[in-house]
Amino acid sequence: MRTSLPLRAAAGALLLVAVAAGCSSKADDADKVAVTATETACEVATTDLAPGSTTFSVTNDGDQVTEVYVYGEGDRIEGEVENVGPGTSRDLTVDLDEGTYEVACKPGMTGDGIRTEITVGS
């Protein structure tokens, strides 16, 4: 199989551009909002946030694998992290406009999750 070199190079470049376009910045450690996920709770350190980019630092203190979603209106997914094993931490960065959202922790990666409301406003 011979695909032309220019074609392959173009495909590679396109992929890089797409990835670059999808990049955004994480917050500094000091600005991260801690989310503690356990079997029965989903604690968000700060529930009143400023609009724009927020980085949640999710720690799984339970003993099941969890995933954390940030849901907007109508359960629209603003962001998610999956496969957060017990005893590990993952960052979740979302860009949120003014409004109310829910942070959902799903131990066992199933169901509607344990939800905590957060408000984004000026």
Binding site: M1, V19, A21, C23, D75, G85, T93, G111
Partner: protein, 292 residues
């Protein structure tokens, strides 16, 4: 540790299965010299995934959610294209081999090493980034405990061992059964991947219907059990798929199975309705196109 083990196992299973079958095929048909491109493809996918994962974990950049899901969705659909092509290419080769006397395998079909390498790369790389992020997270956690990363690595190693066992089993059966079984198995796997890819695109908001669930058995089915892990890892089985996922699964599986099992005297079948028509790959650069 067991939960992390299950995730490692699940993430590695599908790639191990696809690569195991591909390697078995090459060994069985006496094309061992073509193995190198596969390992290069696998190595490349692992290196890029780990590298990219490290940048995202330890750096100050992150991928937007939409970009992540779109990437996953596109990669999944690409993977299905390549695996479908691989299935029908194996079948074409099988037919030309059956007509050879005395088992001399001089197939006129030349397979470019690039096609093999890319198939292997995509099979491993499809879930590669997600797995890499998961691994780096667990490595980060070694400050508190080594259990997560140990569990994860053991899970991945188990997947590799299972892939190897499947390879051994596949090489041991006779050629005709080999093609039938592995072809059918890969079609089922590919259907799951395609459904999963569409789900990713639904999560990214590129396709609608994310909340339209076809069925939900999560009341008794546990996705992070051993059976949930195996079913998800091999078949991408979801206990609560969307309607689109289910439709896509059948829409791929039924025609592809039909085309695959259609009588041996038929003309070369067109690839199943996968978005990337793989026919171009073999037609473009082969030395002697086979009229089969």
């Amino acid at each position: 540790m067991f939960s992390n083990y299950l995730i490692g196992l699940r993430e590695g299973l599908e790639a191990a299965l696809v690569v195991g079958i591909l390697v078995a095929y090459l060994v069985k048909t006496g094309r061992k010299e073509k193995l190198a491109p596969i390992w290069i493809g696998v190595g490349f996918a692992i290196a890029v995934s780990l590298g990219f994962g490290a940048v995202l974990t330890y750096g100050s950049s992150t991928l937007t959610f939409e970009a992540q899901e779109a990437f996953g969705g596109v990669m999944s659909i690409l993977a299905v294209g390549f695996v479908t092509w691989m299935i029908f290419w194996m079948r074409r080769t099988a037919r030309s081999m059956k007509s050879e006397l005395h088992g001399k395998l001089e197939s006129a079909i030349a397979l470019g090493p690039l096609a093999l390498a890319v198939t292997a790369t995509i099979a491993v790389g499809r879930e590669g980034l997600e797995t890499a992020l998961f691994l780096w997270t667990n490595i980060e956690a070694t400050g508190q405990s080594a259990q997560p990363i140990v569990g994860a690595v053991l899970g991945l190693l188990t997947a590799v061992v299972l892939g190897y066992l499947i390879y051994r089993q596949a090489v041991a059966i006779d050629l005709a059964r080999f093609f039938t079984i592995t072809g059918a198995a890969l079609i089922v796997v590919a259907a799951g991947v395609l459904a999963y890819g569409f789900h990713d695109l639904q999560e990214a908001g590129i396709l609608p219907g994310l909340t339209t669930t076809a069925y939900d058995i999560t009341s008794w089915y546990s996705a992070d059990s051993w059976y949930g892990t195996l079913l998800k890892g091999v078949f991408n089985f979801s206990p609560n798929p969307t309607v689109l996922e289910v439709v896509v699964w059948f829409a791929y599986l039924v025609p592809t199975m039909f085309l695959f099992f259609r009588g041996s005297r038929s003309t070369t079948p067109a690839p199943a309705p996968a978005p990337a028509p793989p026919e171009d790959l073999t037609a473009a650069g082969t030395r002697t196109p086979v009229a089969s």
